[in-house]
Amino acid sequence: MTALDTRPPDAETQPEVFEDVTDPPSLIGRWTRRVAITSIVVFVGLPIFTLLIWSFAFRWNFPDLLPSEWGNRAWAYVASDSSRTFEGLWNSTKLAVLVTIMAIVVGLPASRALGQHDFRGKSTVEWLLMMPIIVPTLVATMGIHQIFIRMRLTETLFGVALVHLIPAIPYFVLVMASVFANYGTALEETAQSLGANKIQVFRYVTLPAISSGLLVASMFTFLISWGQYVTTLLIGGGTFVTLPLVLFPFLSGASHSNAAAISLVFVAPAIIVLILTSRQLGRDSSAMGGFGKL
């Protein structure tokens, strides 16, 4: 038998305010935070700082701690047409945006199916999805290259975007499938029974619930496309120039300063995207992003 209710019947009706769960972090939490911040500064901040110095160095010989002569020659080169930096920047951006959109269109329904439904052959689909991570992209791209030549997709933006989808889709779908699995179907079913049609359910219930996860997955996809070199080189045939294609020749020698300047242009979007989305990542609901609380 249940114990008799000794509380006044209206005890529950008193509005209760629950304190926000932003307690001061525990000692362990504080140290984890310090270690994390230090790591970010050391592993991300310092190399970028070094690049910054390099990009303004005119002469920097061993064993000088700092360049003996400064100059903006590298930046002038980056800004010049002959460097093709702007062309690469523009192509890379177009490409990454297109790949992200395509990943959303293809990946969202797929990840929903994987996260929320059980169906025959689900484990096979999951396994196939992992293939691009297991098999080197180069191998797959070589084969695809032949087919794309026949289909006249080589040296086109769309063709390169299609190839970038191969490494991007697994990450996108993995993140989003866990978002959908966390989120479940009860809220959508509730909304539906309250009279919301499919479009309304998606707009008012599904989309707000998955938005931070979607942002994270899109960011991944954007950056994966942004960093592609070999696939772009093969399918783009060297005529479709992205930023990595501009950058790579410099890494093998000629000018450290030029390489440093272009590298900075190359990493800038990653850092901007990270800063823009860090608020989303740090929110309580980031568990929806499949990462737990960061």
Binding site: T2, E12, F18, A186, T190, A191, L194, G195, A196
Partner: protein
């Protein structure tokens, strides 16, 4: 004001039959509980009523008209789940007003109906709270208000109180009951807790293994369960087999008189049962009718009462006695079975451990 009729409703998942040939008429304004252990098909039935799941065969009718072809969003059967109660990105007012917004009701009417509904669930003035700022009980009330504000034809509650603590459950039961009768809405709720079903529902429908076992007012399940399994589910595991002739049942422990006017008719092999709380202890067995010998196996003090576990013939019985009951383990006692409380049940086809369901 809608009556609901389920006609030979069945649902299969592959080779698995989740609900088998279920028929039930629910009157307008009635509160019916689907009771059963998890996996018995009660939630599946609820989902078929809302339209979230299509029946394999059979029909669902609202006011005599089939609704099987009507999609969930236009059916007017609103579901309240036990988890994922509120839309997390919306505040209380947006949550409660959701259904009205979807229906295109204008803003001022939404806000007045939302406030009215929040008063009804005793949460006035919480419109601007976010879902995560509310306690479990408050979230449950908001979810209820959100369902009721659209004036649903049928309100469906899937284990609505399962996540709440014991005290809160009692308060919420009373609230659901009073709102439901005030609005005169037809409501169906699903629970695995027989106590909750009994306290809340006008009628209880007990489901086991996808089959509707018995339907009736709550007391029916205590006074006259149809089968041994139904009796067990309502915590009565006291069974004694015998052969009936008229109002006498001959058992291995002596003759027992039953009330022929009350118990089901028919002579032959029967199983008699009596609830633990109706059994009396007799000083000795000589010369009294309806007294059977037993051996005390254990004595459990339960605070407000004492539970005796006894060996009766070759089965285990439970007797519920007063708190101050003096009994010693291992001694022989006699049990008096008052005629008016003896009931005859059908032996369930699936043999089960007697003690399994007799929880305290």
């Amino acid at each position: 004001m809608t009556d609901v009729s389920l006609q030979s409703l069945s649902r299969r998942f592959g080779d698995n039959v989740a609900v088998r040939d279920l028929s039930l008429d629910i009157e307008s304004g009635e509160l019916v509980a689907f009771l059963g252990p998890s996996g018995c098909g009660k939630t599946t039935t609820l989902r078929m009523i809302t339209g979230l799941l299509r029946p394999t065969s059979g029909d669902v009718q609202f006011d005599g008209e089939s609704v099987v072809e009507i999609p969930t969003e236009r059916r007017g059967a609103v579901m309240v789940f036990q988890k994922h109660l509120l839309f997390p990105t919306m505040d209380v007012a947006q949550n409660v007003g959701f259904g009205l917004k979807m229906a295109g009701v204008d803003k001022s009417e939404i806000s007045s109906r939302v406030s009215e509904m929040l008063r009804l669930v005793e949460l006035p003035g919480l419109e601007e709270r976010k879902a995560h700022e509310l306690s479990g009980g408050q979230q449950q009330r908001v979810a209820l208000a959100r369902a009721l504000v659209v004036r649903p034809k049928v309100l469906l509650l899937d284990e609505p109180l399962a996540n709440l603590d014991a005290n809160l459950r009692i308060t919420m039961r009373q609230l659901i009951r009073s709102i439901q009768s005030e609005l005169g809405i037809t409501a169906i709720f699903v629970t695995h807790d027989q106590e909750e079903a009994v306290m809340l529902a006008d009628r209880v429908a007990l489901m086991l293994d996808g089959v509707l076992q018995q339907v009736g007012s709550p007391d029916v399940f205590y006074r006259s369960p149809r089968t041994t399994e139904v009796a067990r589910f309502f915590r009565n595991g006291n069974f004694l087999a015998g052969t009936r002739t008229g109002s006498t049942v001959r058992t291995s422990l002596g003759d027992v008189t039953v009330d022929s006017a009350r118990v089901p008719a028919g002579d032959g092999p029967v199983v008699l049962t009596i609830r633990p709380e109706e059994i009396q202890l007799a000083s000795n067995g000589s010369g009294q009718s309806n007294v059977i010998p037993a051996m005390v196996t254990s004595v459990i003090y339960m605070g407000s009462f004492t539970r005796l576990v006894l060996q009766v013939g070759d089965s285990t019985w439970h007797v519920q006695g007063p708190a101050g009951l003096q009994a010693t383990e291992g001694t022989s006692v006699h049990l008096r079975l008052p005629t008016e409380h003896i009931w005859l049940v059908e032996e369930d086809s699936v043999p089960q451990e007697t003690e399994g369901n007799v929880a305290v």
